[in-house]
């Protein structure tokens, strides 16, 4: 087990290296260098920058040098903990991201827990009671859940709450807590607000995971070891909970590998609609204003979250399934 985890951990820097290159390419993708567009933007808004400052910026980012030098300068600054400055906000990027990153992770984890708590019973019931009313009901629920873009769910709920109760359900905090420092009261306030984005974000995933679980369970339910357990005289409910669930849950856990990144990045859209203080809307804004260093950092952050998510799901999977543990160690 330890060997397995160590192996995975060793892969981490390699992945992050690849991803940092991808992020850097994304930063470089827009035509023209960003200092030029920044100067143009400043000019458009009526202010300007003197030549010395411009040169200093060009030097800092190595804009006159080949791409790999620029990448090297960028990544080494990041490794030293200097994420740079957002030109759009005129603030250090670390300051912009810090709090939002925390909220993104909290929202992501809350969604994940919600998804599993709902998807597991639904999957089990629909598989063991195949073709029952429940099964059909959840099948419909699943199709609708998968088909509704998350922002539609957000919009509809927002509109519903507004037109029926006159309340606005945006943000993650009540106004009085938005800028307050962390306290117990603020955490409570967060808990009061987080459930809606959590449900909206989790709906799609819940539908998908419940379907995956149902299909896997149905597969497992016909396996010879189920027959054997029945032949041993095991009660049916015990049977389902002990054997197939243990096995059917594996694909579910490995689906964490893609599901976690999906939650994190999916929250981007919901966050935009619901105006949540997570990193999603910040990425969108930075992309639209071509604040590419901010955008690149956020994309890299998303990659980081995804890599950590995959790592966690791998470890969990190995812990659950002895075969994987053995094979990889």
């Amino acid at each position: 087990m330890l060997v397995f985890i160590l192996k995975r951990l060793m892969l981490l820097p390699v992945l992050m290296f690849v991803f940092s290159i991808v992020s850097f390419i994304l930063i470089q993708a827009p035509p023209g260098d960003f200092v030029t567009s920044y100067v143009a933007e400043l000019a458009a808004s009526g202010s300007s920058m003197d030549q010395v400052q411009i040169e200093a910026l060009r030097n800092l980012y190595g804009l006159d040098q080949p791409a790999y030098v620029q990448y090297f300068k960028w990544i080494s600054r990041i490794l030293q903990g200097d994420l740079g400055l957002s030109l759009d906000f005129q603030k250090p990027i670390s300051e912009l991201i810090g709090q939002r990153l925390l909220l993104t992770v909290i929202l992501g984890l809350a969604t994940l827990i919600f998804t599993f708590m709902v998807a597991l019973p639904i999957g089990i019931i629909s598989a063991t009671r195949q073709y029952s009313f429940f099964d059909y009901f959840f099948t419909v629920f699943n199709y609708v859940g998968v088909a509704t873009p998350t922002f539609m769910t957000a919009l509809i709920l927002m509109w519903f709450a507004f037109s029926n109760f006159g309340i606005t359900i945006t943000g993650l905090f009540s106004p009085e807590f938005a800028d307050a420092s962390w306290s117990f009261a603020k955490a409570v306030d967060l808990a009061k607000h987080i459930w809606l984005p959590m449900v909206i974000l989790g709906l799609d995933g819940t539908a998908r995971l419940a379907r995956i679980l149902r299909a896997n369970l149905l597969d497992e339910l016909n396996k010879p070891y189920m027959e054997m357990a029945r032949a041993k005289g095991m009660p049916e409910w015990k049977l389902v909970l002990k054997y197939p669930l243990r096995l059917a849950i594996n694909p579910l856990v490995s689906s964490l590998g893609w599901y976690l990144p999906l939650i994190f990045s999916g929250s981007l859209i919901v966050a935009t609609v619901l105006n949540l203080p997570t990193i999603g809307p910040l990425l969108l804004r930075s992309l639209i204003s071509q604040d590419m260093f901010l955008a690149g950092t956020i994309v890299l952050t998303y990659f980081g979250l995804a890599v950590i998510g995959t790592l966690l799901s791998d470890i969990l999977l190995a812990w659950l399934d002895p075969r994987i543990r053995m094979e990889e160690a």
Binding site: F19, L26, P149, F151, S163, L283, L284, L287, Y302, F303
Partner: protein, 374 residues
């Protein structure tokens, strides 16, 4: 000792076993036919495709024509009964509220706007070949105020016509993107599954890497880097390519898995032994056997693309106006203010949901029919 057939079944009666001799596609079709919901979905999909091919025919107004005096008109119901079968809509009249200065639209209970089927309206192009002005639904008197089945948007454009034209763009983007990603997926998945070994290893790692990348930020970043000066067509192609670039991995996995199974099957082994070239084996023998699986996987991939296009355009990073897609239309409903003012702006979302559900059920039905024991 059971299946070796040394002597023919000399005594078997004429009505031989139809099931065991039916060709594969026929079997698939039989099983599919039994799946009622999938059949219905298939019909809905065909309908949607027809709309996508001839959006102009079903439209009532030029989708780009804006009327400054007709913004945010709520949907108007078409009436079919007026002491006997009829076809008309009640006229809608706008009054400016003297206090709020907002336009308020009131449906008249007496004034009718007569409609007719296959009447004349604005000119539209049939598949880019020729022009006509025949529409499914048209005003009897061209001077009557237009009827807006799904209301109008901020600029007074007819949403019904816009949703129909959006169908064309959204569906074709979905199809094209899936087509692209299918080709990449089949080629790479096929290579991976057929040859195995280190090639397989390499492609699998690549797929894993791509799959562990959160797609949305990449899409956003890529689309954001497209020059804003690009034309609608350029943007369309670029967005299609971007969508395809990230989604081929799922299909490639599917194809590889199938190949791994097929590689061991008798007829492939037989073909190998008889000296067929490898390419020939792959494309003559293996790909056709998989086609029903691929069709199912593709059908299931299209809705994913449609939703993703909607996401991108909704966020302002996909297609940009004047292009009309469902995502572009939904951009009008981006915040609470507009939704509270004109909830019907969310209706293009219903088009998305119906289409995606129909395609998903159809795809599931096809998959079950292709592989009943999975």
């Amino acid at each position: 000792m059971s299946s070796e057939t040394l002597s023919p079944d000399q005594n078997l009666p004429e009505e031989a076993d139809a099931i065991s001799v039916a060709p594969n596609w026929k079997l698939v079709w039989w099983r599919f036919k039994k799946h009622k919901l999938a059949m219905i979905s298939g019909i809905i999909v065909i309908f949607i495709v027809i709309i996508a091919a001839f959006p102009g025919f079903f439209s009532t107004q030029d989708p780009s024509e804006s009327r400054t005096r007709g913004s945010f008109i709520p949907p108007q119901a078409i009436q079919f009964w007026d002491n006997g079968p009829a076809l008309f809509a009640y006229a809608i009249e706008g009054k400016r509220n003297p206090r709020t200065l907002k336009m308020e639209w009131i449906t008249s209970e007496t004034k009718k706007v007569p409609l007719r089927l296959f009447g004349r309206g604005y000119e539209w192009e049939v598949l880019g070949l020729f022009k006509t002005d025949i529409h499914l639904l048209a005003l009897v008197n061209p001077d009557d105020p237009p009827v807006h089945i799904l209301g109008t948007d901020r600029l007074g454009r007819d949403q019904w016509s816009r949703v129909l034209h959006g169908t064309q763009v959204s569906l074709s983007i979905g199809l094209l993107a899936v087509f692209l990603s299918t080709i990449i997926g089949i080629v790479l998945g096929g290579i991976s599954g057929y040859f195995g070994g280190w090639i397989d290893m390499f492609i699998q790692r690549l797929i894993e890497l791509l799959q562990s990348i959160p797609p949305i930020p990449i899409w956003l970043a890529l689309s954001a880097s497209l020059p804003r000066t690009w034309s609608v067509t350029q943007g369309y192609i670029a967005i299609t390519a971007i969508l395809a670039l990230i989604t081929w991995t799922g299909l490639a996995r599917e194809v590889r898995g199938r190949f791994l199974v097929l590689r061991e099957e008798d007829f492939v082994v037989a073909a190998k032994l008889s000296g067929c070239s490898q390419l020939r084996i792959v494309f003559r023998h293996m790909v056709p056997t998989m086609s029903s699986h691929i069709i199912a996987a593709v059908t299931l991939a299209i809705p994913v693309m449609i939703i993703n296009e909607t996401f991108l355009s909704f966020l302002g990073l996909g297609l940009r106006p004047p292009a009309i897609s469902w995502g572009v239309l939904l951009q009008e409903a981006q915040n609470l203010q507009s939704v509270a003012l004109a909830p019907w702006l969310m209706l293009p979302g219903v088009a998305v949901i119906i289409t995606v559900i129909a395609l998903n059920i159809l795809g599931d039905g096809l998959r079950d029919a292709a592989d009943p024991y999975h």
